[in-house]
Amino acid sequence: MVNGPIEHVIKVRDLVVDFQSHRVLNGVNVELNRGEVLGFVGASGAGKSTLARTIIGLLPKRAGTIEILGTDIDKADDDQRRAIDRRWGVLFQQGALFSSLTVGKNIEFPIREYLRLSNKLTKEIAIAKLEMVGLSPDVYREYPSELSGGMIKRVGLARALALDPEILFLDEPTSGLDPISAGDFDQLILTLQETLGISVFMVTHDLDSLHRVCDRIAVLGEGKIIEAGTMERMLASQHPWLTSYFHGARAHADWHVRVKG
């Protein structure tokens, strides 16, 4: 918000990423609008996670520009980079909780590092975050190894939200969860996104989540964005991969009804 209202919180232009000699992304153009949930789909190995990791800065890019909250990350100095790091939260596929710290300390970690609040307030905020993601405050004292898969994802989300970020990256948030937990998790993301006004960049394979949570969907294939737009547009697309993905054995009949009706 420093540079006035920004339409695109993330803007990726002609992004090229190589793994050794293998080209994974070849000219990706995509943008994330403020306040929307953008879902990323694509075949396994199409480079969805690579794209997310490149935007976060975990992987080097060969060419192209990435603009986050109006700042070109190539031109940003260390302070600007740190300021951007503070304004996004990342939920990794396996949660990536620090296993040597309790749940509470995991959530407090970024708060202590960046905000230097009093111990009392830090702890209260951590507990508030835990309750916001639907966990009991008593989870605060437990270690990640004592939690179930669904709880790990929730704690991971609480940690990603610790600094009240503007952008949230979710890497397959519902993978490994049973359908009921996955549905609850979708609902949680939706309510948090609405109440906190976050822009969400979500990599997923879960057709139900795509349908319930995402405002827009981008499809990645052959190193490029094949198609981007609303669910209706995906369902109407004639691209062979899209038709088999959205009309395949695992797609639900009721979507088509809902979209047409």
């Binding site: 296993s99 905000l115 609040l117 905020i125 508030a128 975050k129 309750e131 004292r141 009240d164």
Partner: protein
């Protein structure tokens, strides 16, 4: 963007506070004293309202600070309410209000004296438990070995050769270098002190006996425990963390037979070989120093060595090597299989593995020393 403010004014027996500006994470540090002061100051009021209409930006931090203030007042019986809440912030406030933000109390702390005694007692009991586990593992390895002897085609020969390459062949350079230096240092110290009473030549006896009987094999075992024992523990530990060990079991394989037996056999073969190479390198190092520093030329050194040591000296040293290898392997595997889910536990167990195996190597060495002394060798 300005930091948040909180201004109040009294109205009869009520107080109305106006919050404005940015109530976000970056300003939370300066907002907290503000709300604390507000809570501390107004004690006489019967009802308090916070007007949030002028807040420009707010996030969980700001919402919680306001909620916390209201809760502090309510607990004193003051009537509280929020006024002017815009629709766009309603969801956030509801979310924050929904939480209890209370941890259940911790169980009462124990008397520190009793707690210390308890932890000492537990560690002593653990030592016994560890010994039991090591013997159990020894038994399981022997049983697996006997099964393999009856059905030799089930033995994982390739796996053993692979481990042999890692623990024996790849360890040769570092073992040679370290033992060479140890031999050289012993010879140098020996010459330095023996020279004062003209007994330089006895340094050859000392180097020969010390290296072949004791130091060669012990130094090599300490190196192997640090180098290969730790690797075994870390490998098995991470395999356990990823449920690979359980996967083997469900497929009807015995993890001891598949994972542990080839590793331990590789160690039992490797350590005597390395101990031999190490002893030779130490003698060589001793000889070099004796020549360059003590003026004992190689011919004299070798002739003296032949008188000073017998085949038995060498055998006494070498016979210990496979037993020490077994101890290192068993400890490493026991610790590896005890790894729990966390990265920290993998680190602790790897440390434990190295510390315990070095300790037990020295215990085994002492036991052998007592044994050989009592049978008069």
């Amino acid at each position: 963007m300005a930091a948040g403010t909180l201004v109040g004014q009294a109205r009869g027996d009520g107080v109305s506070l106006t919050a404005a500006g940015s109530w976000t994470a970056e300003y939370a540090k300066s907002l907290e004293p503000l709300v604390d002061a507000a809570v501390a100051a107004r004690t006489a009021a019967r009802s308090i309202a916070i007007d949030v209409a002028q807040i420009e930006r707010i996030d969980t931090y700001g919402a919680w600070l306001i909620e916390r203030t209201l809760r502090a007042w309510s607990s004193r019986g003051v009537e509280t309410k929020i006024v002017g809440l815009p629709d766009r912030h309603r969801g956030l406030f509801e979310k924050v209000q929904a939480g209890t933000n209370k941890l259940s109390p911790l169980p009462r702390r124990q008397n520190p004296v009793i707690a210390t005694l308890e932890s000492v007692g537990r560690s002593v009991a653990l030592v016994g438990h560890d010994m039991v586990l090591i013997f159990q593992m020894g038994g399981a390895v022997v049983a697996a070995f006997l099964r393999v002897l009856m059905r030799p085609h089930t033995f994982r020969f390739t796996s053993m050769i692979n481990h042999l390459e890692r623990v024996a062949w790849n360890a040769v350079p570092i073992i040679l270098m370290i033992t060479l230096l140890i031999g050289a240092v012993i010879a140098q110290q020996g010459i330095f002190h023996f020279r004062s009473f003209g007994a330089d030549i006895y340094v050859v006896d000392m180097v020969g006996v010390l290296v072949l009987r004791e130091l060669g094999v012990v130094i090599v075992c300490i190196m192997v425990a640090g180098r290969s024992g730790s690797a075994y523990t870390a490998e098995l530990g991470s395999m356990r963390m990823r449920e690979e060990v359980d996967a083997l079991r469900t497929m009807g394989f015995d993890p001891v037979e598949v994972l542990i037996l080839p590793r331990i056999l590789a160690l039992v073969i490797a350590v005597p070989l390395l101990a031999f190479l190490g002893s030779m390198a130490a003698l060589y190092g001793g000889g070099l120093v004796a020549w360059s520093y003590g003026g004992i030329n190689p011919t004299v050194f070798i002739a003296r060595l032949r008188d000073a040591i017998s085949m038995q000296t060498f055998e006494v040293g070498m016979i210990k090597a496979p037993f020490m290898a077994l101890v290192i392997g068993l400890v490493a595997c026991v610790e590896g299989l005890q790894v729990q889910g966390s990265a920290e536990s993998l680190g602790t167990k790897t440390t434990d593995s190295v510390v315990k195996s070095i300790f037990l190597v020295i215990v085994v060495d002492s036991a052998f020393a007592v044994f050989f002394a009592s049978i008069g060798i």
